[in-house]
Symmetry: C2
Subunit: 352 residues, 2 copies
């Protein structure tokens, strides 16, 4: 605490990202990065932009990147907003679109950055409890909601809701902004982007950090009707004119144009997820059905925190959240098949 801080700062409990340790030969299954590198095509595109033009500011409107995303999703470029990672877009959305008289509603178990954004923006939040199986019932979201946000698939559970349920919610609460945070959507569920054209209250947020293997470059995007995006633009242009740098933009454009590499890698991840879930089930773990690039598991006879520590001693790190209802679960990123095998082997040794 300091007399120099603005009053809002004293009440903040900042988000804690998964650690990025500098340990050699670590098997890193804690932050849901892609286990495969960006494709040679993406690296070549970035390399060709490492030149004297770096002395110049980027395009403040990221026109070329927005155009590439628009073409991929068959929407107008005026329906695309980009930012310095989807976390920045979420931060803008909380400030620009989610601060209303009614409470912001999200699941009780969800991305743990949401309550932090609420603190930063002085937003009143209300949670809806997930069902016992961690499924989310969007029909249970109350009518007095001022706005709604949820991830699909949800984090850290990996559970999904249907497009039909999202459509019903958008129709039932037509004056409230509904944000669908699709950080993990490319691993086996459907995006809500096709619903945007009929629902001016719907914003879909995605990232290049997971399925597109560019966590190191920080690019995210949102798709919504221009009326919603104008709110985001006004806040963005009151905060930082050029959040997406030249190399990040070039890399993201190449990544979204590389459809074949994208499909190949996410298919491999889905197959490894199926394999890992089977192996863990055989070992007695309860595995929440996941459509993300992670699994969320618990063992009825083993303390999750102790398992995490034991894995770490074997140079494998996974994520353990000390939060209500999930403190006996581990969230495990789907690595390469070799990494998944090493995890299973390590767990067998620990539990033997």
């Amino acid at each position: 605490m300091s007399r120099f801080w603005s009053p809002i700062v004293h009440g903040l409990t900042p988000y804690t990202p998964g650690e990025q340790p500098k340990i050699a030969n670590l098997i890193k299954l804690n932050t849901n990065e892609c286990p495969y590198p960006p494709s040679p095509r993406v690296l070549a595109a970035i390399g060709s932009a490492v030149n004297g033009d770096l002395r110049l500011y980027p395009d403040p409107d990221s026109t070329a990147l927005r155009q590439a995303i628009a073409e991929y999703y068959a929407v107008g470029r005026d329906h695309v907003f980009v930012g310095n990672g989807s976390d920045e877009i979420l931060a803008f959305a909380f400030q620009a679109l989610l601060n209303h008289d009614g409470p912001l509603v999200y699941p009780d178990i969800t991305y743990s950055f949401y309550p932090v954004y609420c603190q930063l923006n002085d937003i009143t939040a209300e949670t809806v409890p997930l069902n016992d199986d961690f499924s989310l019932d969007l029909d249970a979201i109350p009518h007095h909601a001022g706005a709604v946000i949820f991830p699909n698939p949800n984090a850290p559970t990996g559970q999904v809701v249907s497009l039909e349920a999202i459509r019903r919610l958008c129709q039932r609460l037509p004056d409230q902004v509904i944000v669908v945070d699709e950080a993990y959507v490319d691993f086996g569920t459907e995006t809500a982007i096709p619903l945007v054209k009929d629902h001016p209250n719907l914003l879909v947020v995605q990232t290049f950090s997971k399925s597109r293997a560019l966590a190191g470059l920080r690019v995210g995007f949102a798709i919504g009707q221009p009326e919603l995006l104008a709110g985001l633009e006004r806040v963005k242009n009151s905060f930082n004119s050029y959040p997406v740098d030249r190399l990040a933009s070039v890399g993201a454009i190449a990544a979204i144009e590389d459809r074949q590499g994208f499909d190949y890698d996410r298919q491999r991840i889905i197959e490894s997820r199926t394999w890992l879930a089977e192996q863990l089930t055989v070992m007695g773990f309860e595995v929440v059905p996941s459509k993300a690039n992670f699994v969320f598991v618990r063992h009825p006879n083993r303390d999750a925190g102790e398992l995490a520590v034991a894995l770490r001693e074997r140079a494998i790190i996974v994520r353990h959240f000390r939060l209500p209802r999930i403190d006996q679960h581990l969230r495990i990123t789907i690595g390469t098949r070799e990494e998944c095998t090493a995890l299973v082997t390590a767990l067998q040794a620990i539990m033997a």
Copy 2:
């Protein structure tokens, strides 16, 4: 306006950055970029980081970059904060450090992003008028200030204040945060960084976008005592965990280590500034004494807006602010010597 926007959005008048037109052979003297490219050493360092590690998140604490900056300025690493351009750091500072009961005080003619940050954060601002010669009298800043921010050199005037005046201000207002925005400090004036050790209320903000030729990568930094930086960190970690990407970090480290290239380029810019100021004076322009990489000029017999239009017709763009007291001035970035010569030739033709 939209019912979907949070109330704060309706009152925003976002900042307008200098345009980034895509016109071939344009002489771009409007956004104070460095006219020289990053050194080969910087480009090589970035190129070597274009590899598979881009799939991984950056270090959320940017430890290596903060260490490099700390070594250059001979301060502790715990005195260095980094962000996605100095604009992002300023945005965090307004939210974390500059929102107090008393008004935030800044010059009436200054960086035009400051009033925008005030709107975004609901901060009451009070301006102190520059003297008629555009000099800033820090002793005129009132005691009831809640906090203070000013650029040194000031933008868009290029005028400087002395370190002694800054020291007096820090001592006179010991409970108020004083932010010195040093975006242009490397072109002929002294940084206030050495004052930080004696003044826990002083924050110095700099950028890699001007003197270090990396506007395209978006890196800025702030130096202050850990108590101040903790406030910035709390807001940053409630907003975006990883604002500085892997390539930006590597490029900035190489840039700050390349002392020889840095000194050579800024010396060339200072020499061109002297030359350009002389030429413009000969042509009858009034040239505000500048220690920045731009000059701020007016001609007693020529409308500034018309001059800007006529220059643009000759593929030269400069910055013209339609603001009180300065709407008859032009801000002209110091380009290469060839660009400065082309500017002079064009003005001679226009005024003939």
